[in-house]
């Protein structure tokens, strides 16, 4: 496979770091790939700009950070403003249409999806916004199989919340499917 470099960005508490970990863990534990996940954050536990980098490859990964992502996800305006310029030409920029108003065209496939709104309308719990985002990403990129993500969710999410996470993932996948070219 081509080495894929992803940056997930948003604000603390949105679950962008968790989403990055789930994706990378799925690649390593259930797809036999290499993956490295790292993050940078300020002192705030909630709020503040959060960023998590993921590299997925079938070759060894040494330098673990992402300078130019193939895939950039921005879940807040602040994150979009800060990071939209670093996307690799020809990459994918995924934003949430409620939180981000895109301002200029980037040399990349640009997808604005109503992930947050759909989660609230269908599931009613914003806590699975990040899983919905992962679902959309899976449809748009074919990075890992949805079953691999589900296996990770099964090992990390309390049983009572698993169904809600599964729904969010499927919701995201449908949103992504509809936006596929």
């Amino acid at each position: 496979m081509e080495r894929c470099r992803l940056v997930f960005s948003g604000s603390g508490g949105q679950g962008v770091i968790t989403a990055a970990i789930i994706l990378a863990e799925a690649a390593v534990l259930h797809e036999g790939l290499n993956a490295v996940q790292s993050q940078s954050y300020g002192a705030e536990a909630r709020g503040g700009a959060t960023r998590s980098d993921v590299i997925i490859a079938d070759t060894p990964i040494y330098y673990p950070k992402v300078l130019q992502p193939n895939v950039l996800v921005c879940l807040t305006q602040e994150a979009y403003n800060k990071f939209s310029g670093i996307i690799r030409p020809g990459g994918l920029l995924l934003t949430d249409s409620r939180y981000v108003k895109t301002q200029r065209k980037v040399d990349a496939l640009q997808r604005e999806l109503p992930m947050y709104r759909s989660v609230l309308e269908t599931i009613g719990k914003p806590i699975v916004f990040n899983i919905c985002m992962l679902g959309a990403l899976l449809s748009l990129t074919d990075l890992v199989r949805p079953e691999s993500i589900l296996k990770v969710l099964e090992s990390r999410v309390p049983a009572d919340f698993l169904e809600m996470n599964r729904k969010a993932l499927e919701l995201g996948m449908r949103l992504g499917e509809s936006a596929r070219v």
Binding site: E25, V28, V36, S38, Y63, K65, L67
Partner: protein, 382 residues
């Protein structure tokens, strides 16, 4: 049955390595970016009947593990720069009283509070020289989680073998990033158990009289041999002495037992050194950026190699000298102002050909940063 594969942070790889080595007593105080080590051990040690205690500060943490070590436990504490500064006096005590213990310093930007959530390798010299008085110390590091696990096991092994504190110098990048860790099976990695005295009850036991091979068998507190442990210069029974012959002998012993073994204590990895005309020397997370660059430039036919040091102290001068003997240039890659650079210059035949590629702004050094330095050395400009 397949091996257990985990996707974890470097701090968790350290925890798993420590438990594999037999850690059964941990005392610590929370500090970024080492805190996950304490959090994980507060869960895992009680689950296997081990001891975890959160102390009132880092000083107390190191003191507590030294006390526990004397009862026969395998012990560890973890901290970052500010806490490591506080530990320096007790570290000297463990050196002087020859008490096995492992101290993890997950480095962050300094001095002082510095930048707690950003990367640095600024504690390399503190690890070597932080406590007062002439002494020697073992300091190890690693750049990926499999190696973090293995080097943590090694830290316990060397600590027990040489009755000395061993410092594990990790950094924020390796500590916090997640990657694959394949857990070794029991018995797959060598673990050293404490050497205990065979001297019977009622026979004079000398806790500080080295055997022929230089090792000092221990007797647990609570056992049949009652002796004294002190940070004062002491005789072979552990009682204070100012006798010049005793003072000289003890200091020589403390330094020689480590410095004279620099070669056998050297842990390192070599990448493409056979024909390298430029040798990068790096350690910890910096070695990841260095290796990235080496592999990339190799694909373009450039003869670049990497010597990744895992033992920082005692400095593996022989290893550095032999690996750099044919190099046109040696570039030391560090995230500090060149803390290992002088040791490299002292080790090689042509110190004028040793250069520094560094970064001190809290940003993880990139392969491009190192490449820029190479271009300057080669007269190509940036």
């Amino acid at each position: 049955m397949g091996k257990t594969v985990r996707f974890v942070q470097g701090n968790e790889a350290c925890v798993e390595g420590a438990l594999y080595a037999g850690l059964n007593f941990y005392a610590g105080y929370p500090i970024t970016p080492s805190t996950e080590i304490a959090e994980l051990l507060s869960l895992k040690l009680p689950q296997r009947g081990g001891k975890f205690i959160q102390m009132e500060d880092e000083i107390a943490s190191l003191c507590a593990i030294i006390g526990a070590s004397l009862t026969g436990c395998k012990v560890m504490t973890a901290t970052s720069g500010p806490g490591f500064s506080l530990m320096q006096e007790a570290l000297g005590y463990a050196v002087m009283a020859e008490i096995p213990c492992v101290i993890v310093d997950v480095q962050r930007g300094g001095p002082s509070t510095g930048i707690p959530t950003h990367v640095s390798q600024g504690d390399v010299n503190q690890a070597r020289w932080g406590t007062h008085g002439d002494h020697a110390i073992i300091t190890l590091t690693a750049s990926n989680h499999q190696d973090v696990f293995a080097i943590t096991v090694e830290a316990f092994n060397l600590s027990e073998t040489y009755r000395t504190p061993v410092i594990l110098l990790f950094d924020e990048v390796v500590a916090h990033m997640r990657e694959k860790l394949v857990l070794p099976e029991p018995g797959e990695l060598h673990t050293v158990e404490r050497l205990k005295t065979a001297v019977k009850e009622g026979v004079d036991y000398h806790p500080y009289l080295p055997r022929e091979d230089g090792r000092l068998p221990m007797s647990d507190f609570g056992g049949v041999h009652r002796y004294n442990v002190t940070g004062l210069v002491h005789d072979m029974w552990g009682f204070p002495s100012t006798e010049p012959r005793v003072v000289h002998g003890l200091l020589r012993h403390l330094v020689d037992k480590i410095e004279n073994r620099a070669h056998e204590l050297a842990r390192f990895k070599e990448f493409h050194l056979d024909d390298a005309d430029i040798v990068l020397i790096a350690y910890g997370s910096s070695a990841r950026s260095a290796l990235h660059l080496v592999e990339e430039r190799r694909r373009r036919g450039e003869r670049l190699g990497l010597l990744e040091l895992q033992t920082l102290w005692p400095f593996p001068a022989d290893v550095v000298r032999t690996r750099c003997s044919r190099a046109r240039a040696v570039v030391v890659v560090e995230m500090n102002m060149g803390q290992l650079l002088p040791s490299v210059k002292l080790a090689v035949e042509r110190p004028d050909r040793v250069f520094l590629a560094n970064r001190i702004d809290g940003v993880f050094i990139t392969p491009a940063d190192i490449h820029n330095i190479l271009r300057i050395i080669q007269g190509k400009g940036v």
